[in-house]
């Protein structure tokens, strides 16, 4: 679906991401882990064409990413970034409908279909009654879920999520990952998720890409990647590794 080949991204002379390659397959969730400054957000911004790549290249559906227009990319790749507050009174439904921009005409009004899709997205994110509320009057966690609803409303096949659970409580952290999991399973979407929560990555990701200093340090299944040696090398922490008794997935406990 999305192929990344030897991409390097530089800010001025500084190489922030170096020689990164990986594939994102249909229905797959890839978690990107790494310490602060490892290049995770830069990677996400490069994958939807926001940041220019200085070396290497990416292909989407078998064609070079550069051959797609902005609108075509937005139809295929949706981003869930950290939400920035707006100073204008925008309702939750208006915000989610903005995710339909690339699907409709550049001007004019949304169709009944668009509204139905936006309302379904809100319902999926546990926000059914929020449509008429104002974005700057709901909590940070609720806003974060609205941002996910907007991404779902795009009907894009690839979701790029940059720390989507940062403002969420425990229950909503798990439900957001579960929702992304269901989208990937039922609709054949794929997702790349940046997260600092190693256990959520272990539970929900099919593969983990571990970044260190702008390079891929390790890549593979959570069981293979989440080990004491890798995590000590990348995060410089001591950990205890065992198995979640219910899900049988790897479980990481940080030792202080």
């Amino acid at each position: 679906m999305l192929k990344v080949r030897n991409i390097t991204i530089s800010y001025a002379e500084n190489e922030v991401l170096r020689d990164v390659s990986f594939d994102l397959k249909n229905g797959e969730i890839v978690a990107v882990l790494g310490a602060n400054g490892a290049g995770k957000t830069t990677l996400i911004r490069a994958l939807n064409g926001t940041l220019p790549v200085s070396k290497g290249g990416m292909s989407l559906e078998g064609k070079p990413l550069e051959s797609f227009s902005r609108r075509q990319i937005a139809q295929r790749i949706a981003v869930v970034a950290q939400e920035n507050e707006t100073k204008f009174p925008v309702t939750v439904l208006e915000f989610v409908l903005s995710g339909r921009f690339a699907r409709g005409k550049a001007f004019g009004w949304e169709t009944d279909d668009d509204i139905q899709i936006a309302e379904n997205a809100l319902q999926n994110c546990d926000l059914s009654d929020y449509g008429g509320r104002l974005m700057n009057e709901i909590s940070g966690g609720e806003r974060q879920r609205v941002v996910l609803a907007r991404a779902l409303a795009t009907e894009a096949r690839i979701l790029l999520l940059d720390e989507p659970t940062a403002n969420l409580d425990m229950a909503h952290q798990a439900s957001m990952f579960r929702l992304v999991r269901e989208q990937c399973k039922n609709d054949g979407c794929s997702a790349i998720i940046i997260t600092h929560d190693l256990n959520l990555a272990s539970e929900f990701a099919d593969r983990i890409v571990l970044l260190k200093g702008g390079r891929i340090y390790a890549e593979g299944t959570p069981k293979k990647i989440l080990n004491a040696e890798n995590l000590n090398e990348v995060f410089n922490v001591k950990i205890l590794l065992d198995e979640n008794p219910v899900s049988k997935k790897a479980r990481v406990t940080t030792l202080y």
């Binding site: 902005r70 981003v79 707006t86 309702t91 208006e94 001007f107 449509g131």
Partner: protein, 321 residues
């Protein structure tokens, strides 16, 4: 829910158009000479058609242009305080107009052309100064506007020293925003710009709804951010440029009107832009009627009236942000 909201918006639109018609009729009737439309003497006919009508119609176009430019700039810059007058755009246009007047007086078309160029350059300068790697915050934008405005004002003051006493008085009035020099030709030109600008910006309104949330968001969701930015800056410069060339710098209109419109109908720019045009027309025609009648037979510049309302609102909005 949406249908109900739409019905309400249609009602507001009908109300605004009726209010505009009523305000225009009122403005034509009152003044230092009160006119009755049913019994017009030759002299009253001249006052109505040669003096008041061009002035009222120009006022409506000026109000519409400034409000639409303000609404679009606010959405583009993600800042409810962005306003042509406060950003220095009006002063850029004023300087352009003065340069045309001082150096190319015999070429009639030079005034709006220079005004447009001045507005465009000032907009670009403020934008470049205000943006930083961390984005563009309220303080940076307002401060950049103040710097550009004061810099341009000092050049305008220098230029006024080249004018004789009679011209100087009319220029001082004009600088504060003055509709008393209205002609029917000036009205046609401003009308053309107002209509074109409003249509162009209405077509960008859907993209502006995303830009208003964040430039990066807009880009992610399919907006050609660079193209929209250029179109909005150019259209706003044309609107402000033609307005200033015709009537000087009428301040705060682009701040007050879109703010009130958003309070009434929400932030969807597809409605805010056209509704601001009609509301702006009502506002400036009313303000100019007050300016003509408050101390009749003497007159105030309309910009003084709009500033009296706008400055306190600006302080309120700044406090709230």
């Amino acid at each position: 829910m949406l249908r109900k909201t739409l019905d309400r918006r249609i009602k507001i639109a009908v109300f605004l158009l009726a209010a505009l018609a009523a305000v225009v009729l009122l403005a034509l009737a009152v003044g230092s000479e009160r006119l009755s439309f049913f019994d017009l003497s030759e002299q009253h006919r001249a006052i109505l058609f040669d003096i008041r009508l061009p002035r009222v119609l120009l006022g409506a176009c000026v109000g519409a242009s400034l409000s639409v430019a303000g609404a679009a700039l606010q959405a583009l810059l993600r800042n409810p305080l962005a306003e042509p007058y406060l950003l220095g755009v009006s002063n850029g246009a004023a300087l352009g107009t003065m340069l045309a007047f001082v150096f190319f007086e015999s070429y009639g078309f030079a005034r709006p052309m220079f005004a447009f160029a001045g507005a465009g350059i000032a907009t670009f300068a403020v934008y470049q100064m205000a943006k930083s790697r961390a984005g563009m915050n309220v303080e940076r934008l307002v401060l950049s506007g103040v710097i550009v405005t004061t810099f341009l004002s000092s050049i305008i003051v220098l230029l006024t020293s080249l004018l004789d006493a009679a011209k100087l008085r009319s220029f001082t009035f004009w600088l504060l925003g003055d509709l008393s020099q209205a002609t029917i030709d000036g009205f046609y030109f401003t009308l053309a710009a107002a209509v074109a600008g409003t249509i162009i910006l209405s077509f960008q309104a859907k993209a502006l709804n995303l830009m208003m949330i964040g430039e990066r968001d807009a880009f992610d969701f399919g907006v050609e951010v660079g193209r929209v930015r250029i179109i909005v800056f150019a259209a706003a410069s044309v609107l402000v440029g033609t307005t200033v060339a015709a009537s000087g710098s009428v301040g705060y209109v682009g701040l007050i009107v879109p703010h009130l419109v958003r309070l009434a109908i929400g932030s969807d720019n597809r409605l805010v832009v056209p509704f601001s045009a009609v509301s702006g027309a009502i506002f400036v025609v009313l303000a100019d009627t007050v300016a003509r009648t408050a101390i009749a037979p003497r007159e105030l510049p309309v910009g003084a009236i709009t500033a009296l309302i706008g400055a306190p609102l600006f302080i309120y909005l700044l406090k709230r942000s």
